[in-house]
């Protein structure tokens, strides 16, 4: 239905936005979102300029962040490609905080602002609030405060210990940032006040623990008793390298441990986002599509508005084929949006095939089913659960097996009856972060002799480490303060190769 000029709530047909119009559009979107039962944090919409958007880009999408050269590097390259027109800026950045902060860029038209509000302030926002990973691992109430604390603390360290010392340490922490995540243990809630109060306490406590571990004057009787078989340390392998370093690295000063902790916390905060790309974008795209269509149906927005919206929507969900020169992997927006839409279709108009594959959801209430899917899955399990044969056909998915022991690539499955389950399984695996990143854990510390730290890389599918591994190892050695070894073991536990980084003997600084 075209825009109804008699409707008092209709938005004017113009591309210029004003604050009043944004308020009005937002009000309509909020009403529709509520009708669909989207549960969100309160919204805080902020209008910013393109430069500010670039700033926001570079500080890892946080409204505040500490200073580091790598953010400057990111900024320079963003700025360069933006200035040359090689790249448009993202339309939106949304921050998983309470209230949820969404940025609206000044240059955007009214249509685009409405799109962003629906996408970010209702789509992403409700995902942040609802998805189990975010509920478990992130603390939207405290993150902005925590970043302020981190920024101030690091600035203070720079004053006390010099920019170079802080920068070196942060470099090393950033190199290990993906290994600063607890995958199974739930982290404690963040709170600035507690952080500050406990920080001193923690510094002293940790130092005393470390001292105990590294005491150089062993008690005589113990030394004799244990001489034969020193206890294994750590007793169990530790997957969170930064955590291990923070707690046990022998030579770190208390402030350095605090910095390790800060980078670890930030990494942990972003961990759910890395695991839910397809779902998160799919969910947000699905809702901006649904909400704006609803507004059109009600006659609040006109055909011109819809055409502009649909043009950018189709750009966002475009998926080039693997043979296309534009192909650069699967577009998470495309896959996510297609899956969300498909779930709705299965609920509303199931085919016989759907009834066979998804007996639980075929014909059920689509709002409830989608909400359940949003809340209880991550990319990997979401795809394993909901990717339908129809979508596999629509995308013409096919699996290619590349084994370095054979000279040829093999097509292992395509979008046919025999291949559906296999393709779905493979695609889900592809989104398993545990497979995508090398599995590296703290294996052992030689507590009795040279204090060397041994890490173990357990090979997945015989994949080798990249060439940067040695560089990263240098960073580990810098944090650890002594020799570091990295052993690569095959699934049977046999060491197939190893890297080593020796630390120069030196006085404690």
């Amino acid at each position: 239905m075209p825009r109804d000029p008699n409707n008092p709530r209709a938005l004017p047909e113009q591309s210029e936005w004003t604050f009043d119009l944004i308020e009005q559009a937002h009000e309509e979107i909020r009403r529709v979102a509520k009708k669909f039962g989207l549960d969100t944090y309160p919204n805080q919409l902020e209008v910013i300029t393109a430069e500010q958007m670039m700033d926001a880009y570079t500080s890892v999408g946080m409204p505040v962040s500490y200073n580091h050269w790598s953010f400057g590097k990111h900024f320079l390259s963003t700025e360069k490609s933006y200035r040359r027109g090689q790249m448009g800026l993202a339309y939106e950045i949304v921050i998983n905080s309470n209230p949820c902060i969404a940025y609206l860029m000044e240059e955007n038209s009214l249509t685009m602002q409405a799109l962003v509000i629906a996408h970010a302030a209702y789509g992403h926002n409700s995902f942040f609030k609802g998805n189990y990973l975010f509920r478990t691992w992130t603390d939207a109430d405290a993150i902005v405060d925590y970043m302020v604390f981190a920024k101030n603390y690091i600035a203070e360290c720079e004053q006390r210990h010099g920019i170079d010392a802080v920068e070196e340490l942060l470099d090393s922490c950033h190199a290990l940032q993906n290994y600063g995540v607890d995958r199974y243990k739930r982290p404690a809630k963040l709170s600035v006040a507690q952080e500050q109060n406990r920080q001193k306490e923690r510094e002293e406590y940790i130092q005393s623990q470390v001292n105990e571990l590294w005491r150089t004057l062993p008690r005589r009787e113990e030394a004799q008793k244990d001489a034969a078989a020193p206890p294994r340390f750590p007793a169990e392998p530790e997957e969170n390298l930064l955590y291990f370093i923070e707690k046990y690295a022998p030579l770190l000063e208390p402030w350095q441990r605090e910095l390790v902790r800060i980078t670890r916390k930030i990494s942990q905060y972003f961990y759910p986002q890395r695991q839910t790309q397809v779902m998160n974008e799919g969910w947000a795209t699905f809702w901006h599509y649904t909400i704006l269509h609803e507004l059109h149906k009600e006659g609040i927005v006109g055909d011109g508005f819809m055409l502009e919206f649909l043009q950018s929507h189709t750009n966002v969900v475009f998926q080039p084929a693997a043979t296309s020169p534009y192909y650069s992997g699967i577009n998470p927006y495309a896959l996510g949006f297609a899956m969300m839409t498909d779930i709705k279709r299965i609920c509303e108009n199931p085919t016989d095939e759907d009834r066979a594959w998804f007996p639980d959801i075929a014909g059920s209430d689509w709002l409830k089913t989608l909400d359940f899917a949003m809340r209880n899955f991550k990319d990997e399990s979401f795809i394993a659960q909901y990717l339908s044969p129809k979508l596999i056909r629509d995308f013409h998915f096919f699996a290619v097996l590349d084994d370095d022991r054979s000279d040829k690539l093999t097509i292992s499955a395509i979008h046919d009856e025999a291949g559906y389950r296999y393709v779905r399984q493979q695609l889900a695996e592809q989104y398993n972060l545990g497979n995508r990143e090398p599995n590296i854990q703290v294996w052992q510390v030689n507590t009795r002799d040279d204090r060397a730290l041994t890490l173990r890389h357990t090979q997945f599918q015989r994949r080798p480490l990249n060439q940067q591994a040695h560089e990263v190892l240098k960073h580990v050695a810098r944090l650890w303060g002594f020799d570091v070894r990295l052993e690569t073991v095959d699934p049977s536990g046999r060491v197939v190769s190893s890297l080593e980084c020796r630390r120069e003997k030196r006085a404690r600084y």
């Binding site: 604050f19 937002h26 309160p42 919409l45 209008v47 910013i48 300029t49 430069e51 500010q52 670039m54 700033d55 200073n67 580091h68 050269w69 790598s70 953010f71 400057g72 590097k73 900024f75 320079l76 390259s77 700025e79 360069k80 200035r83 209230p99 950033h174 190199a175 993906n178 998926q319 084929a321 693997a322 043979t323 296309s324 192909y327 992997g329 699967i330 013409h396 998915f397 699996a399 290619v400 097996l401 084994d403 370095d404 000279d407 040829k408 097509i411 395509i414 025999a418 393709v423 592809q430 995508r436 090398p438 590296i440 599918q461 015989r462 080798p464 480490l465 060439q467 940067q468 960073h475």
Partner: protein
């Protein structure tokens, strides 16, 4: 509850610190890159040069990741031809195929340079780093002869011509209110009392009334005695003298245009002049440039003629120095001007003229100029002019000379000429 916040006016350079950190960390590489950029292109467009690239391996942030190898099984969209079990060769050269589904792990990106843009200001700063205008600070401190007057608030003493009327009258008004306040209050009270007495029917000759009238009269007189304006009300505009730094420089370009100076030598000389000009421009607000060319006779010319007209014949350097001396004393002799001289030549001169040059320099020119630079564009052995100039350089600190062979030498020579002076 929704908030709509306009953040556009808030600081847009949140990343400035990070940017500066980046530049700080890679200072050495950026300086190299700036050096390369300067060498690689004509110095005339030096001020536009802003793009800088440094090798990506230097700015790389290492992370653990998988390299290609082992087993990779990837799902891709857009199958058009394949059936299960089809086999085909690995795509070569990593084109579209090798990156399939593993873009995050590709190490091919490491081969490129990391390219970014420096602002013009930053670029020039790197360009001029470690260079310092010789003795400039000294000159500024010792040669300040000019002052300028500047307003600096108000003063309670001064000359009558500086009286600030508004301020003075405002002060007077304030004083009158302050001083007359108690009396005026008393007066009002007394008048009120008098009125009440009258209303109660008191006669004019009532002693109370008489006394009140007397008091009121007394207060009136007192109030009238408060002066309308008093010497303490006067305020004078205050002006102070502040030293005015001299911000004007004149740069003399002297070039030998005799037959032995060919186009390429002139071109080299030109780059040298431009570099000096750029440098001076950073320090002085206003720079005048005077071009003097010479063969056996010297002439003051405009820039175009200076660089592009050809002459032939012999060389008498002293003719140019005479002319320089004349121009300095006629036009730039007062203290406002900082004079810089850049001379370029191929080193040829008439034998007995070089001694004369030395004398002119020592006795007349050197005391008047801030700095004198001489570049000899030649690959031959030093001739008599070079030898005589060496003697000048020995006695004057603000005289510098260098030899240039190819255009590529200019930048290092320039640095040598203006290297930081020990203070």
């Amino acid at each position: 509850m929704t908030y709509l916040i306009d953040r556009r006016l808030q600081g847009k350079n949140k990343s400035a610190v990070n940017r500066e950190r980046f530049l700080r960390r890679y200072k050495a590489q950026i300086k190299d890159a700036v050096g390369r950029a300067i060498k690689g292109r004509s110095i005339t467009d030096i001020e536009n040069g802003e793009k800088v690239s440094i090798p990506v391996k230097d700015v790389n942030e290492p992370r653990f990741g998988h390299a290609h190898g082992g087993v990779w099984e990837t799902v891709n969209p857009g199958n058009t031809e394949y059936q299960k079990g089809d086999q085909f060769n690995r795509p070569r050269g990593g084109g579209g195929g090798a990156g399939r589904g593993k873009a995050g792990n590709s190490e091919q990106t490491t081969e490129d340079d990391f390219i970014f843009e420096l602002s013009r200001e930053e670029f020039m700063n790197y360009f001029f780093e470690d260079l310092e205008l010789p003795n400039m600070i000294k000159t500024q401190l010792t040669q300040v002869v000019e002052f300028k007057n500047q307003r600096a608030g108000y003063n309670i003493s001064g000359t009558p011509s500086n009286i600030h009327v508004l301020r003075s009258l405002r002060g007077a008004l304030g004083r009158r209110i302050a001083v007359g306040g108690p009396s005026r209050k008393q007066l009002t009270a007394l008048e009120h009392e008098l009125r009440e007495l009258r209303e109660q029917g008191a006669e004019d000759d009532d002693p109370q009334v008489l006394e009140l009238k007397h008091k009121i009269h007394h207060l009136h007189t007192r109030l009238l005695a408060i002066p309308f304006i008093d010497p303490i009300d006067l305020r004078y505009s205050n002006r102070i003298k502040i030293p005015k730094p001299s911000t004007a420089a004149v740069m003399f370009c002297i070039m030998d245009v005799s037959g032995s100076m060919d186009e390429s030598r002139k071109d080299t000389a030109k780059r040298f002049f431009i570099l000096l000009y750029l440098f001076l421009k950073r320090v002085y607000e206003k720079i005048e440039v005077v071009f003097i060319r010479h063969h056996t006779a010297a002439a003051e010319v405009d820039e175009n003629e200076f660089f592009h007209s050809r002459e032939s014949g012999g060389t008498v350097v002293s003719s140019a120095l005479h002319m320089l001396n004349k121009i300095v004393s006629e036009r730039y002799s007062n203290g406002d001007w900082n004079s810089y001289v850049a001379q370029a030549s191929d080193g040829d001169n008439w034998d007995n003229d070089s001694v004369l040059c030395k004398q002119i320099l020592n006795s007349q020119i050197m005391p008047r100029v801030q700095y004198y630079t001489y570049v000899e564009i030649t690959d031959g052995p030093p001739q008599n002019l070079w030898e005589q100039y060496t003697e000048v350089a020995a006695t004057h600190q603000n005289f510098a000379m260098q030899k240039i062979v190819t255009p590529a030498d200019i930048y290092p020579v320039f640095r040598e000429l203006f290297k930081k002076q020990p203070k």
